[in-house]
């Protein structure tokens, strides 16, 4: 089975801190995604990557950056955390055509910014 692992399930950070959210998948998927999940808004795409060192902005990239140095790892970075970035963050990966491929999700990282 595909496994997408998000290293931190719960984080509490202070405003202005730099935050790293790590995601690792074990199925050699070339495509990886970071979504943000908020009540009433569903999932919104922050960034995605279709290959090592490649990244594309999603719908809400402001305040975030990403890093993909290895195929299995996709990191989300909050350079200076703000309270409006308190949310659930979901990582996902898929193989091949992103129109038809099943997304495999991690269990999420719940971030609280105080």
């Amino acid at each position: 089975d595909v496994k997408v692992t998000q290293s931190s399930r719960y984080l509490v950070k202070r405003t202005g801190e730099k935050v790293f959210l790590e995601c690792v998948q074990d199925m050699d998927h070339e495509n990886m995604f970071w979504y943000r999940q908020d009540p009433g808004l569903g999932l919104r795409l922050i960034y995605f990557s279709y290959d090592v060192k490649m990244k594309e902005k999603g719908d809400i990239p402001e305040g975030y950056s990403v890093s993909r140095e290895k195929k299995e790892r996709f990191s989300l970075i909050l350079e200076s955390a703000s309270t409006n970035q308190t949310s659930m963050y979901l990582c996902a990966s898929t193989h091949g055509d992103t129109r038809t491929g099943e997304l495999f999700f991690g269990e999420g990282s719940r971030l609280t910014v105080l």
Binding site: F33, G42, L90, T98, R99, T100, E102, L103, F105, G108
Partner: protein, 111 residues
């Protein structure tokens, strides 16, 4: 503009009763459509998907969905719900090779 609309925020259904979750999309003549489920404390799991062909698609856990082009809808159904079906359900459509999700419908199952 919202590309996927799930009109029902919350639905309560009795165990053993039927369930229908609504989804309307507003993108693409030939949309790629998905339903995902998120159980409490879990990531999302694919229930089913539609690209072309038979407009009634079968998924896992006894779910099915019907694509109706004339209504721009892709409603999810289950004939008899189980307590384990309590979860949040997301409809999604592919836009520019990426999934765009609806706001979700939370399903509560009462005994």
């Amino acid at each position: 503009a919202q590309s996927v609309t799930q009109p029902d925020i919350h639905i309560t259904v009795s165990e053993g009763a039927s369930l229908e979750l609504r989804c309307n999309y507003s993108y693409g003549a030939t949309p790629y459509l998905f339903w995902y489920v998120q159980s409490p404390g879990q990531g999302l799991q694919l229930l089913l998907k539609y690209f072309s062909g038979d407009t009634l698609v079968q998924g896992i856990k006894g779910f099915e969905a019907e694509f109706k082009r004339s209504q721009s809808s892709f409603n999810l159904r289950k004939p008899s719900v189980h307590w384990s079906d309590a979860a949040e359900y997301f409809c999604a459509v592919v836009i520019d090779y990426k999934l765009s999700f609806g706001a979700g419908t939370t399903v509560t199952v009462r005994a």
